[in-house]
Subunit: 323 residues, 2 copies
Amino acid sequence: MGALLGLREQGMNREVELIKSLTQGLPRRQDTILGVGDDCAIVKAGPEQEWLLKTDAMAEGVHFLRDDPAVMVGRKAISRLLSDVAAMGGEPGSVLVTIGVPKDLDPAWLDGFYEGLRDVAKHHELAIVGGETIQTPGPFFCSLAMTGHVQPGKAILRSGARVRDAIFVTGDLGGSIAGKHLNFEPRIRESRWLVKQFEIHAMIDLSDGLAGDLRHLCEASEVGAELWTSFIPISRSAKQRAQSGESPLPALAAALSDGEDFELLFTVDPSEAVRLKDAWKEAFPETPLSCIGRIMEQPRLMLRDDQGLRPLTLDGYDHFNAS
Amino acid sequence: MGALLGLREQGMNREVELIKSLTQGLPRRQDTILGVGDDCAIVKAGPEQEWLLKTDAMAEGVHFLRDDPAVMVGRKAISRLLSDVAAMGGEPGSVLVTIGVPKDLDPAWLDGFYEGLRDVAKHHELAIVGGETIQTPGPFFCSLAMTGHVQPGKAILRSGARVRDAIFVTGDLGGSIAGKHLNFEPRIRESRWLVKQFEIHAMIDLSDGLAGDLRHLCEASEVGAELWTSFIPISRSAKQRAQSGESPLPALAAALSDGEDFELLFTVDPSEAVRLKDAWKEAFPETPLSCIGRIMEQPRLMLRDDQGLRPLTLDGYDHFNAS
């Protein structure tokens, strides 16, 4: 999921329905702790470790264009997975890289793609341990699989949010398509810090957009949420794109619905909120952290602004616009 | 690798060179026991376990055709990986399934594909723990990643063959394209039995063809090999295709060079050869096991037949034909 181009126009719902029907009743094992449905799967690996498993794919013409710098595409491919491991509070481990190569692809492009993979892997102390190269009659695609590690029982799931929790989000949101989607820093360090210092109840990374991913988190936790519009951190590019008319969306709507922010959305007990804000500012002075709302009992998403409370019936952009 | 259609015509060498150049100097970690270059990677997972990691991909029009039954394509996708785990002497664990879906793909085809995945997973007690579905402007592709388990130090590598070892192969070889490539039983049970009962020195699964994969094994072990033509188990379909003219290859050449046999090729100390043959016949009465040659010191592949010894300068089919 999280395709920047294409999928949204077709309606994310069709994809979600398809995946739901395909992934029903998949076989499990005794060592399967968590299967499909969160940012990563969790599998038991001995008495002292659980492994996170995650796969992610990108296709030319959908997630990037041939003109995009190959190094950045490689960086994005591996960083997307790191963002998922971060969302589980995990430490990244090993990567497998599968690529489908069309006949007319310039080998220099592939070199660049691998350079991007290597850069990010080295930076985050990941190993690239395997891969598969096949010929494809279609456009270039890549499909990566990543392992990560957590202590037993310590993975942060989407399903742990509790009523009255404070909802936090890292970074600024919206307008990722202007560049950030190809050049973002996955929040691995921040996630490692968060799970060591605080009891994080639930976490997800923002790939489908704030409203969509908050809905995923709330559905998994069987709760609702109230967002406070004035606290939602809107990115400069979302504002610029709205002002210039480059985007048809008002900046706030972009921050709520644009995909591929790759920030962390998480919840903590409200009594922790102030201590968290203060400690964060010291640890990551250059990265914003915003408390944007709270978890509610009623299973629906609400938006609070000057005019009061209104339902956030997001289901992708169209529904939002119509609300 | 191991594409049945397409790649061979283009020359396997180009693919091998590309992969070699891309996978040079990939980052490793302390827990990386074995990176790129064998049937699976090996990663440390606590004191009592090592994990195998493997990824594999197939694209419509290269590895299968849209007309192929979806269930069989799904079975093949997952069985290919099981064959790799078997080649390491491992026990399969969990699978991640990534698919690229073209707009015009019939959802019923996808259901069938998943049915095939589920069938094989259940049969081999595998868990399907995650996946990713993306849209693609190209043909359907799938990319699977599998974990497997071995006891520390017990994985069977390609690199363990010793001079004078007996070379064994399971099943019958050649002519897989006539049907077996879509309907084979990965040799998981046989591999588990072999590693428990015997000291297997080196093992590989046959995806690129006997001669090609034996060469991989010999290169990794820095040895050579001598094959005895009269002991090479030629499949009925290789014979039929040669007789009918459906294949331009003599049956022996097909058994040596056809891809996608998905049988196991392994070596043991020659003193074990007879005991192995006898025990195998009792354990797997319906599956042939053939001793087809021996490991030699000189790093080259030789073929012994009625006329004596001649070099097996295989590099795909063309070179063989010319030899």
